[in-house]
Symmetry: C2
Subunit: 134 residues, 2 copies
């Protein structure tokens, strides 16, 4: 049972990595994009706490995304120490496409699954997640 779960974890992780790689993205960089999508322009500090990584690390991630044109550093309107990391139009399009692909993927996995089984699965996953938080 745990074996099944771990196998799934590895499988999903690898699959996601392959998908992202097709857009020259990595999990970490995609995480930044995702956070920006959810929160709008934010400070690197905010990104650091949101992603639970070092501010120094955010610098590097943003460097990469900026080089790829997905993101720009804008001056913060009131705090001249800070920079606002902002999605470019291209970056926004990319995130939206990733969201579409993800929806498509979810459809592939769950769409023609009997509602009963789907509910059972959801309940089981939720319960595991709950227990793991303890």
């Amino acid at each position: 049972m745990l074996g099944l779960l771990l196998e799934l974890v590895v499988f999903v992780g690898d699959d996601m990595q392959r998908r992202l790689a097709r857009d020259d993205l990595t999990a970490a960089r995609a995480g930044v994009l995702w956070a920006l999508r959810a929160r709008g322009p934010v400070t690197q500090r905010e990104l650091a706490t949101a992603l639970a990584v070092t501010p120094r690390n955010v610098t590097g991630l943003v460097d990469g995304l900026a080089a790829a044109g997905h993101v720009t550093r804008e001056p913060h309107p009131t705090d001249r120490r800070a920079t606002l990391v902002t999605l470019t139009p291209a970056g926004t399009r990319l995130v939206e496409r990733l969201e579409d692909e993800q929806r498509e993927f979810a459809g592939l996995l769950f769409d023609d699954m009997p509602a009963e089984r789907l509910d059972a699965l959801g309940g089981g996953l939720a319960e595991i997640l709950e227990r793991m938080r303890g």
Copy 2:
């Protein structure tokens, strides 16, 4: 639903990483230990194909494990190019303890879960895994 799954993936992954870190291990190094546990002394080449990584990478991983005393490089009895990576007694004890911890963890997650829900969960996970292979 997919969100739930992804959350679980991240959670399980992080948790595992933390566990391994307590023994100064990483996922990659633990994978080597695990493979050795399952197959006994093997060639680095075999490890490379078993773990689906470059032979070059195995060299580094084995270096690390050897430095920590979990593993030794023994000469291959017939092929003088090859080295047999072998678990030391300490390494074996470590892997066994990891297995115990994993069993304990599994117990924490599943032990007092009603059999019905457990079955449903197992079936759901298996089906997802099945679909993902396509």
